[in-house]
Symmetry: C2
Subunit: 434 residues, 2 copies
């Protein structure tokens, strides 16, 4: 029998007064519910960052696991080292060599996706109130890490050639004027998430020089570097300075996220701390996942698979850019990515992408509002991230058409009433990968 005098579905958290200071900001955003809706099949989601793993040779991957566990199961099913499998670390160095990085396997730490590498860097470097420089906009998962260590993010503007050196100098000078030194510069140089731009080759040495001179450690987060559509991989920032740059890599986009294998290549002292922090966090990564990946890299034409992904994503990018040109209202602009997964769309003045999201979902298309990619959530109202990685090209076209129609209506409402409504409140960080 239910006591009708009691309120229903009220969750009282008796520990609410006891959480650590760093946990107080850990509150799910209001738009999470919308993203749950966005996973329904009738909705075209241009919101997620899921790679198209159906393009993998899944039967062959299954066989790798079978052989591995059958023949080396006593190792594969056991605990591993906190630093990661030595053979895989050698192979990771070969992958990085494609971007000019001459790293040593001893300096690689295998992580649970590059997300864990980001988290471990935060853990060993960031005290509350420390300053992290990050592009404007910046990867939502990195902003979540910096927030969880109570760091202050200072955004640095980008243009079509990526991070602006002068703006970086300014940001460092402004931080110094406030009596602080930035600890980290977080950057996604290639096919930026969410901005879709790439740091020009001509700026790379300058960016590293600025950071080095200021004593700022550069976090080069490079999950998409091998996924360029028009050219060979660019030379990594890490290639020319192994002391100033920590390189973060991942197999999530070049192979598959399901194994959760990423890595950090770090200066020796930093590496030592990363290993100890990784051990405190998880003891060790899955050995079976590491060894299956190692077998795949050793025995399958993985470079051809990356090439196949590039072709596939190029076609989807073309589908998105072509339809954007056809259907977007005047005064909309967008970036033209030459690789990776994302287009950054700027909508006309007076339209708020966060306020608009429920109407877009009603029209069966989803995106991530720009505010998600700024540390304080106050910026980005006129922007949104569109992903072309997961839906088939026809679905992308349909989704962009639906989005165009929603934007047309918003422009009409704005022209009639001068505003389009109030944005939902709350931190608007969606799950980084839907």
């Amino acid at each position: 029998m239910t006591d009708e005098s009691q309120p229903h579905h009220v969750t009282v958290d008796r520990y609410v007064e006891r959480y650590a200071a760093r946990a107080r900001g850990m509150v799910a955003s209001e738009i999470r519910a919308l993203f749950a809706v966005a996973s329904r099949p009738e909705i075209v989601s241009l919101a997620g960052g899921m790679p198209y793993v159906s393009a993998l040779p899944l039967d062959a991957v299954g066989d790798i696991f079978d052989d591995l566990v059958g023949s080396r199961g006593a190792v594969a099913m056991q605990y591993g080292s906190a630093q990661g499998d030595p053979g895989l670390r050698e192979q990771i160095c070969e992958v990085m060599a494609l971007e000019g990085v001459n790293g040593h396997a001893d300096d690689v730490v295998v992580t649970v996706g590059s997300q864990q590498a980001l988290d471990l860097i935060g853990r060993i470097f960031l005290d509350p109130g420390d300053v992290v420089l990050a592009e404007a906009p910046s990867y939502v998962g990195a902003l979540g890490v910096f927030a969880s260590y109570q760091a202050d993010v200072v955004h640095v503007p980008m243009d079509d050639d990526g991070l602006q050196p002068d703006a970086l100098r300014d940001a460092i000078a402004r931080t110094a004027a406030s009596g602080r030194t930035p600890k980290l510069l977080y950057t996604v140089p290639n096919f930026h998430n969410p901005a879709g731009v790439t740091l020009a080759a001509s700026r790379r040495a300058e960016i590293v020089d600025i950071a080095r001179s200021a004593g700022v450690l550069v976090l080069e987060d490079n999950p998409y570097g091998l996924l360029g559509f028009d050219q060979e991989p660019m030379r990594a920032l890490r290639a020319d300075d192994g002391d100033t740059v920590v390189y973060l890599g991942s197999f999530s986009k070049t192979f598959a996220p399901g194994l959760r294998v990423g890595w950090a290549l770090a200066p020796r002292g930093v590496r030592d701390k990363l290993v100890l922090a990784a051990e405190a966090g998880i003891l060790s990564h899955s050995v079976v996942c590491q060894l299956a990946l190692s077998q795949y890299l050793a025995n399958h034409p993985w470079r051809d698979q990356v090439k196949a992904f590039r072709e596939l994503y190029r076609e989807r990018r073309d589908a998105m850019l072509g339809t954007l040109s056809s259907v977007m209202p005047a005064a909309c602009t967008w970036t033209h990515p030459t690789g990776g997964f994302y287009v950054w769309l700027t909508v006309p003045e007076g339209i708020d992408t966060k306020a608009m999201l429920p109407r877009a979902v009603g029209a069966r298309v989803a995106y991530v509002p720009g505010s998600a990619f700024f540390a304080d959530g106050a910026d980005g109202a006129r922007h949104m991230r569109l992903s072309y990685c997961y839906p088939e090209p026809d679905r992308i076209r349909e989704g962009v058409r639906r989005l165009g129609a929603v934007l047309e209506e918003e422009v009409e409402v704005r022209d009639t009433f001068g505003t389009t409504g109030t944005p939902a409140r709350g931190l608007d960080r969606p799950p980084p990968n839907l």
Copy 2:
């Protein structure tokens, strides 16, 4: 050509001034090098906590992976939810039901081993200077987490029936007298690591009552609960209080560590924070590992496998206890575990187990010195942890005989010189699982 004027192999960490406060204690212990030596085949390691995964049906496990990736690869190789696979969470509830826990899958968070669950609890609850109550001795991996969040551990004595209720009351009162309230009580109630004792059924309700009254959240860490040799699984602390107790479980000992699947069952508000913290830390656990485990639980007689492990570990425990009785010098005492992996040995006064370790390794046997299991490393000099989980019974007997001989010599040296030497310096936390 080498410049002979330069010093060799000198690593200068230019970031040494820039680490976070929490990272300053992250320094590898001197005895790590010894444990690296201890993995040589001529040495009997009674130090590690590796389960004997060779006893698993490895071919069948390989087939599970093969079927899974071949037929559901597009899901298995993709990102998953930060909370973990819903089906696996249901199965986890069935496993916990064996210990009287009536949990809901919505309140389970799948983690990278229970180590990540420990870390996430630390992350959401512990500010620097917070007090954590933990048994004396306590699990080395938990102490590492508490240290990394700069918490102060207050150890609470145990006896052969586990944690002592009166000692727990005293510890809470002493903490209150110092103006603080403990945030957490960390306990391994069953087949304690490293002490090898089990919390008596008659004490369980009392322990939870004490914690509840004091507003202390109980962390019930229970990786070994199904590995009892003489009886059915005991009723979990969590079974009778879902608000006060967070239950941590793991498949590392009942199945295999290589998949890195553990979990937390937590009150709703705590669960919400755990999910957000897990997402910031790693985005999501490996889906392929979670689904392979789920298939194993669904389609294989996993309870029979646990029973096979129990028989195997019982035989090894008997080998260890029998040989200890035969060879240990007078005045040595040890616990008599009724399950799990560990015996806690107390050596005669005047002998320091950390100082003795290099001599034991020289005699081709390794153990973990007791000081590793105390937060400040100052206690535990007269203790060591012996594991019987991994070596075959004959190797265990040989290892214990070697250890007995080393201890006889130590006693002789002590009787002649009054001391046995100076212990190695530095934090002596070995890798939690060698």
